[in-house]
Structures are given as C-alpha cells and as structure tokens.
Symmetry: C2
Subunit: 420 residues, 2 copies
C-alpha cells in the first residue's frame, strides 16, 4: 500500500504555517497523524478554512494517506476536505509545550490535561493493569464479587473514615472490603474484587490518595508462602500484559526498559529495622515505617520484596497473631522496589477464632459490640484463610515511575482537591 | 478411572444416620460431594468422630472417590480419615431445608445465606457477567477508566444524593460517572467503567438498590442506532458467556432454558404511552413511567426493546434535545423483557454545546454555577458523543428471574438495610 483514501477525526495538537504549506499534527483518539496542506494543491475554500483553525479544534479530515520520509510517523495525510466539528477556545494550559504546566494548574484543567498523549498512555496502561489482574485471578479460580462501599462499622478502627449520611443515620465509606471478603471466603473459597476504597488521611504525600482502587483478594487454606507467590505472579502477569498490549504507550512514556522481575525477596521485620538503623533512622522494634523510612528501605532493593511479619501491636485486629510468639502477627507487606518503590499491598493470615478476635479487638482499643455480625460468622465452621489488598495506583506509580501517585488517578482526590 | 485417592475440604451441608451408615453431603467451595461412612469399614475412632459432627462444620476428608449408582452426583467418597478444622454452632437459618427463611432473616444472616448453592450460583454468574461485559467492551476498543466516587456536584440535580463529609466540606457520592465519562470521551474516544453508583432513593421496590454497580459507557461520534446495537450486542455476549461458563450454575437455578435473544425491538415513546393507555393506565404524554407502568410494559415483550426518545421535560440536562422538535430529547432507555423485565439502562446522545447546556440547566431548575468545570470543558473542541449506564443487578435480575433485585447484590443496601 503506497496510498490510501481515509477519513479521520481528531483534535488539532499543533498547527504550523511555512509559506504555502500548513502542517497540522492531528491527535486522533488513538494516535497522532500529520496533515499537510499545500496551498497549490487544495481549493481556495480549503486553504481559507485551514487559516481559521486553532489548537484543540475537533475536525474531520478526508484525504489521501501517503508515505513520507520527513513526517515523524513516516506518513502524512494530504487532505481533500476538512470540516470543523467543534471549535475551541485557546487552551489555558499548553498541551504540547516544552515546559509542562504546574501540577495544580494541570489538575484544575484536568479535562484538558487528560488529552495529552503522555497522560493517555498512563491510563491505557492502567486499563491493561486492571484487566490483567482480573484475568490472572480468574484463571487462578477466584470469583469476582462486589462488596459494599457504604458500611455501618469502621473496619480499621474509627480513624480515617469518611462519614456518610445514610437516610439520617451515620455510616462510612469502606476503607477496604476486609470484613466482607472474609465473609465470602467461607462460601466461595477464593474471592476478589477490584473496587474503590477510601481513606480520610490528611497525608499530603506523593503516595496518598483519599480515593483509590484496590485489588482485594482472599483465599481459604493458604500459607504465607502461597500469598507471597500469588502476589508476585499477579504483578508479573500484569507487567507481561503491559509489555504485550502497551508497547506504544511505554514508548511515549520512555519506559521501553520495563521488564518483569524474575524473583522476589523476603526480609524479616527485624532485618528491615536493622537496615534503617544503619542508615541513621531512629526507629525501634515495635514501630511501623513512616513515609521516609519506607522510601529509604525500598531504594535498597531492585526486585519486589515482602516483609512477612510485623509486631502485633501495630497490626490490625483481623490478622492472626503467632501462637508461639504473640508479639508477632502474620501480616505481610509487599513492597515495590527502587526510586519509585512504595508499599504495594498489605495482607497476611487472618484470625478465624471469634474468642481470640474479640480479645484482640479489646487489646487494640476497639469495641467488639460494633463488630457483632462479623464476630458471629466465625462461629459457623470458618475455614483458615488469608489475603491481601493491593493498591492499583501504588503499583502503577512504581511501574511507570510516577513522581506522584495522583498521576495514576484520572481525577485524583486529596484532602485539598474535590473537583473537577 | 474407577477410584481415586483424594483429600477435600468443605462444610457439612447435611448429615444423616441410617443404622450403621452415615451419609454426609459435603459442600466444597465448588461443588457438593457425598461422603459415606460405614461403621464396619472405618476405625472406631473415625466412627466416634463422625457422630460428633454437625451441620456447617468445616472438615478435611481423606479417602477414596468411587463411582456410585445411588449417590446424586454418581460418586461418593469412602473416608479413611476425617479432621474437624472448625466447629459450628447450629446454623440459625436452614441452609438446606425445603422452606427457605424469609428474606429479612436471610439478610440478617447473609454471611451464612451466601453459602447456599443457589446463592453461590447467582454470584458465580454475576462474576461472568462483569467479565463478559468488560471483555466485550475492550474488544470494541473501549478503554477502562475509573471515575471519582466522591464528587462536589450533584449530577442529576440535588435530589437522591448521599452527602459525604469530606474534611469538613460537603460532598456527595456519585450517582453515575456521567460528567466524568463525558470529559474522558474527548480524550479517549471510547471509554467505560464498571463501578459502584449510589442513589438515595427511598423506594422500597423490587428493583431498587441504594448501592449498585453500573456499566458506564461513552463513545464519540455515535448515532442512536450505534448505541442500541452496542448495548444489544453487549447483552448478547454476556448471555453467551454465561451459557459457556456457568452451565452448572444455571442448572442449580433451574435456568437451563436461558438463551440469547436474536433481535431487539424499538418502540416510540408515543407507542409506549398508547400500550399503557390501552391497559387502563392513566398516563399522559410528557410523563415518565412509574414502577407499575414499567412492569406492565415489559410484560408485552419477549425480546429486549428500546424507547429511543423521551419528552425533554423529563430528561436530564445532559441529553441532546432534538433541534427540529425541542419537546423531544435523544434519551434511549433499554428495557429487559418479560415477567422479570425491568429498565436495564438509560442513555442517549449528549449535548456538547455549552450555551445550549446552560440554557437546559436553567430550564430544569439547576444552577449552572455548580457545573463550572463541566460547562467549561465543552469550549475546547468537544466531539459529539453518546453513551449509556446499564445496571449490573438490573440485568442480572431479568436474566436469572430474580423476584427482588436485592438477590443480585451480595450485601444489598436499601433505605432500611445498612448491615451486615
């Protein structure tokens, strides 16, 4: 094929006049095309119309697609007709300039910002990630379920919850589907959901969103090794699928070097504390890692790693406490490695004995009365089980080397940002 | 294979003693198996243990799987050992009785109710539905995105919204991703999300949930026919996939006769009004269909049908009003047919001219100031577009002939029910 008649639609990305030639870079929904309008070769009407066009005009172009040695894509369109479908004001942010607008300005005009090829590439990859995660879990025999978002009881204690007014009653937005996915595991054995979760944390860090999507997984009769293997294979499948389906997007993002890790590592909580102490952090056994500690820790690794136990005092009530050493709970954190590394998931083995659960709740300052149905369900032949919740945007942040997690969310929500 | 050594786990569904034989129906996560314990063939220890077992005990069974002419599944397990993993209180609802518990009681103990094979079948089919819908849309070139749940502005006007307290500010739970999916269509051309939506309707009907999942789709440059075809093909793909993947579940639900419809029908709004008037309903041109009218209407059809325009006075502001006949708006409702029929989706062509949009908002009593960013985005070369929002539970209700839509939700939310 040397030439081909086509009709395409798109936004004018850039328009440049060079004497008797006008070069239009047309951003279609999938690509960019060059439209070359030569005064001598088109009607006067078309030439006049071309001179009226501006950036972000949405136009229809009919013409001939021909090979080109000069055009970036190796091809150009010589138009026979151009129609303006929708005019545009001059865009308030430069979608194609060399210096990008500041992040707050980009967010203010996010509905224009998301038209940028780099931003679109992030979300096409996110689409693959979501699909690949589901595909992997379904192949592993997991049933996809949807758990409630509006809940009556705080899962992780009362803090960091968004209150909802539910027909005059107090309710909350779910921080995770924790209690519900546990209930479902007794029926289905292997369950998952990928759904929005909410944390009313005032943290204004590069890794916090108040609204994010979580891959929530729970399985009966699993070991800690099973959970680590499952998560590692899930992430590897996601990376493989991105490589398969998003070659063009990775190129746009200069991430051609992305490759799936071939193994994971495991370090104990004690080892993590040691590493941090050596790096000068004042952290003691029994403390959780703050943002700085986590950042320092992940930089030490170039493959994903797990910390497969934590002090029980800093671990949520639903984790199983080690029988022989009650200071330790079977919580497993999965960490993404490197400069863009971050905690990807938390999970572990769950306690399924209602008496021990009640005791743990009281120890951690929670009121067992608030968890009535949850505690009750463990009285009915509950299988041992475990699971994890993996943050979609967290994973994307590491894979795509995003400065801020907010870039992995189409319309991010932070303590300060509620619109658009 | 005539016999096979196996180890399986499951809950005791029923346990029945007949002289020197005990028959256990074991509900595994995927199936039901019969375990036959013969006093003369097992150790005294095992026989004694078997006599301690009760319903919903979670046990491990090791033994030999053999063919059986008597057992329901054509096979039975002769155990060599049985281990109790978790004991159970006697279940407060009969999971296997002939008379099912009343719906409110089932909901109160939903964490046990979902262990029933019939309930599990519904949710395994729901899992297929969600996956099939995504698979179809991805193949059609749609990008999966996630839109915000916490929003600052009411999409459909101020009514029927759940307020959220967002760091001291007023916010709401999204009724749909309407405004956001429209914003994304200008960038990606074809977008979808399957996500929770919220309506604070006090309706206590068989077809209302306050929290439900919606297949939200939006595409640039579509006609009304495109939108109808797309939805019909989506539903057909879903049914085909259910037939392919859920044969066993359909059998459990006595739905072996499910088959994909081979065509859809279209009736005008005027025709719908005529049908209802003939059936004795007092409905006039300009009114929307209530629950009773809708139920009467869908019973007249045995294939899905569309109503491809509505009076503009009862149509949300974002629909395009017909230029030649402004009394009519290009809203398209898709209706599921038959006794379990219900409105599956609402959609249509959208207005993309900011001035006309503003005018419509004022006509419908909305304040354009609340939609500032939304109105602004149409100033930047906005492509003509349309889409729809299809209710996951609505579709499931018709396909699986569910009396109440609540049965299509694992933990349904209604004005009265907030837990479990």
């Amino acid at each position: 094929m040397d030439q081909q008649e086509i009709k395409i639609y798109g936004h004018i990305a850039t328009i440049r006049k060079k004497g008797k030639i006008v070069f239009i870079v047309l951003r279609t929904f999938d690509n960019e095309e060059q439209v070359t309008v030569k005064k001598n070769e088109v009607s006067e009407e078309l030439w006049n119309l071309v001179n009226e066009l501006g950036r972000e005009y949405f136009i229809e172009v009919e013409g001939t697609l021909v090979k080109s040695k000069i055009a970036k894509l190796g091809r150009e369109i010589l138009p026979k007709s151009i129609k303006i479908i929708s005019k545009s004001f001059p865009p308030p942010i430069d979608l194609y300039g060399k210096t990008e607008a500041e992040w707050p300005t980009r967010l203010r005009f996010r509905y224009l910002d998301i038209r940028k090829p780099k931003v679109k590439a992030i979300f096409r990859i996110r689409s693959t990630l979501m699909n690949a995660a589901r595909e992997f879990l379904r192949k592993e025999g997991f049933v996809e379920l949807s758990f409630p978002i509006i809940i009556a009881t705080a899962t992780e204690g009362g803090a960091e919850l968004f209150p909802v007014i539910y027909f005059g009653r107090e309710a909350f937005l779910a921080q995770s589907s924790q209690l519900y996915k546990q209930s479902a595991v007794a029926a289905f054995g292997k369950v998952f959901s990928i759904a929005p979760s909410f944390r009313a944390e005032k943290s204004r860090t590069r890794k916090h969103l108040t609204e994010f999507w979580q891959i929530d997984v729970e399985a009966a009769l699993v070991t800690k090794k099973d959970l680590m293997d499952l998560q590692f294979r899930l992430v590897r499948h996601v990376v493989e699928k991105i490589l398969e389906e998003n070659e063009k997007d990775l190129k746009i993002l200069n991430l051609e070097k992305l490759e799936p890790w071939d193994h994971y590592e495991v370090i104990s909580y004690d080892e993590a504390i040691e590493i941090l102490k050596k790096k000068g952090f004042k952290i003691e056994w029994g403390e959780d890692f703050g943002a700085d500690e986590e950042r320092a820790l992940v930089k030490e690794f170039d493959v994903p790693f797990f910390i497969p136990e934590f002090p029980s005092s800093i671990t949520a009530f639903y984790y199983m406490v080690d029988e022989r050493n009650p200071k330790i709970a079977h919580r497993i954190d999965m960490m993404g490695p490197g400069d863009y590394g971050v905690e990807w998931s938390s999970g572990g083995l769950r306690e399924h004995n209602p008496d021990r659960l009640k005791k743990r709740m009281i120890e951690l300052g929670l009121r067992p009365e608030s968890f009535e149905w949850y505690l009750d369900m463990f009285n009915y032949g509950f299988p041992p089980h475990g699971g994890f919740g993996m943050g979609v945007e967290r994973l994307l942040q590491t894979l795509l080397k995003l400065e801020r997690i907010h870039e992995a969310s189409l319309y991010p929500r932070t303590p300060d940002i509620l619109k658009p």
